[in-house]
């Protein structure tokens, strides 16, 4: 029996394009960058701003839009993984719908960290089947990771990024000076993603971190070497993302550090930042690679060494063997039936594993706990 006759084939090429623009002094009234994409005369903008960021910049932002005669509705969003929720998303959607905006020429503007741009990007992707949005990262995590790609998402029933979309922004504006008010913990949060990239694909970036990372963190990356690190991190990230924007290839090197940690984040949304979870995952993945002799002792020590040097302290108390195994099981569904776990085979290279066992995860966690415990013994800190 015939399985059917194709009567119509629908096809098209959908062009995707967006610019990542370096725009210092973004909220200076003389700088029209932020409003230039969209209607100005009689224009309206729905703006979602991180609540902490707004403490320093709310007035400046209000005045910016007022100066240009644009009716802006500015909504404050409390950051943090616990607000990457459907409830928060719906609340913003209702405010948006009550405002409202034209469907195409009044882009939504998202000013904040990775959680905020993920949530607002998702809102933009589903409101009226998609309206344009602009991203302005105000955290290092946003700057080097969340804002430059096209992934959006919210957590759902305590499962991380379970709902989301691939939604290219209209534009991304990078203003490095916005990072200066960032607490150190949130600087280190973004550093987690930079370390990830350095390990799996960029030994030169890794050396920059070893040599200039500590200074750059102290300077919130405003120093020249810090700028070099950010540039290299973003370039490297985009080189990975651009040929595989919609993840047609599910073996992604940038998934390093994103295989065992998702359920930890979901369980402890108020305790573990995304970058911190990534670093825990990197540590476990590194020990798995080391145990399999895929990675030399020297390279493994460099990985742990750079974390130490940058002042990163892993919160190993949140490690949970069962949760981390369950994270991997979910990744198998997500990666279409295979584990596809990237682990480093050198500084600047990685391989994919498909046969990691529960026992391997457990013993790597045990090894990591032992390593951290040793470092914490006061006698050794002299």
């Amino acid at each position: 029996m015939s399985d059917g006759v194709t009567r119509w084939r629908i096809s098209c090429q959908r062009p995707i394009a967006y610019d990542i623009v370096e725009a210092p002094r973004l909220f200076d009234p003389g700088n029209r960058a932020l409003i230039s994409a969209g209607r100005i005369e009689g224009g309206r903008r729905f703006v979602v701003v991180d609540r902490n960021f707004a403490r320093y910049h709310a007035e400046e932002i209000h005045e910016y839009f007022a100066h240009h005669g644009i009716a802006a509705r500015i909504v404050r969003f409390p950051g943090g993984e616990e607000n990457k929720s459907l409830e928060r998303c719906l609340r913003i959607l209702r405010e948006l719908d009550a405002f409202p905006i034209h469907r195409r020429d009044e882009p939504i503007i998202a000013i904040g960290g990775g959680v905020l741009t993920d949530v607002v990007g998702f809102i933009a992707s589903i409101y009226r089947r998609g309206v344009p949005h602009i991203k302005v990262p105000t955290t290092l995590m946003g700057y080097v990771d969340a804002s430059v790609g096209i992934k959006t998402g919210i957590n759902f029933d305590a499962r991380k990024n379970r709902l989301g979309s691939f939604e290219p922004p209209l534009r991304v504006f990078l203003d490095k000076t916005l990072l200066t008010t960032l607490p150190r913990r949130h600087v280190l949060n973004g550093v987690g993603e930079i370390i990830k990239l350095a390990i799996i694909k960029d030994s030169k970036l890794f050396r920059l971190l070893e040599e200039h990372g500590a200074r750059s963190i102290a300077d919130a990356f405003q120093n020249p070497a810090g700028g070099q690190i950010l540039d290299r991190a973003i370039s490297g990230m985009l080189a990975e993302l651009e040929p595989n924007l919609f993840e047609d290839d599910l073996s992604r090197r940038v998934d390093f550090g994103h295989s065992f940690s998702q359920e930890l984040e979901a369980r402890h949304p108020d305790r573990v930042l995304h970058g911190e979870a990534v670093l825990l995952d990197i540590a476990v993945s590194t020990l798995i690679a080391r145990k399999r002799c895929l990675l030399s002792e020297r390279d493994a020590e460099r990985i742990f060494g750079v974390m130490d040097r940058l002042g990163i302290v892993l919160d190993t108390a949140v490690l949970d063997r069962e949760l981390m195994w369950r994270s991997l099981l979910d990744r198998i569904e997500h990666r279409d039936g295979l584990q596809r776990v990237p682990v480093p085979d050198s500084i600047g290279g990685c391989v994919f594993l498909n046969d990691i066992t529960r026992q391997e995860i457990d013993s790597s966690i045990t090894a990591l706990e032992a390593r951290t415990r040793v470092q914490c013994e006061p006698a050794l800190q002299r």
Copy 2:
């Protein structure tokens, strides 16, 4: 002052392609069409089936998957506009997440009418940032309209299709015999969209409706002329959709009948079917065009004449001047600042209006009410 320097430009061409396949006897175990797109060996399928349709076909569908050794989770969905809701959507998402499926090779299967395929398409577009889905229309509305395009959506806060996405299906399977159990009212519901297409772009289709429409409706389009009407309607629909799949051009001829009616549907989800609302909108739009002398008296009478001949009775009691005006105001936001209302200027042609006044809508509604009242006077029915 410079507005910023473009540092990176991300671009790609995203290929979009899907087939609309004529596949009679879709649930016959010998017909592998429905499972051929995706993993069979050890495969799983999440299937959402219209509750009414399931009354006749549930066992057949269960047996179909069992025969092929596929673990299918079959969820029943109560049709109707009132179930095009976020609550319903979340309930299905939870069932899906608990099932679960591979991200790429275990497509979700949607078997039902337009409401069902819109909701399931939306779920597919946001679950894990998008999983593939297959559509099997079981209503005429689904067959000629909802299933063949890429629009998905749910109502939100009583606003129609306020959340949604453009999500191309993996495949669409057309099995005309599934329409045979459809109640007459639901056949007429789909006819609304066929009439729409005929008026704005296809005078030959219009003549087919005049000559063979009544017979075809009585036969649930199983007769040869009925088949010809369906073919022509789908071809015409696709010819409009394909060059403008993502609605980059907001002046869409297929929006005929979709400018004044949205709030009526939202207000009366249990009383007005989508196609019925479209027909009310067509009637009002036709009278606006007639009053402006854009449309000849003869053509206007042919439009009302074909409705009469097909046994369509407009429920003018739901007409509401304020709601219809508000629908148009929302369309202005949706169509980026302009009304862009298509109205017929002949049988088979249309023009777009941007300056329709509240008064014009009101007087067209009054004229329509008078016309319907006259037709209902018993003395005239002899």
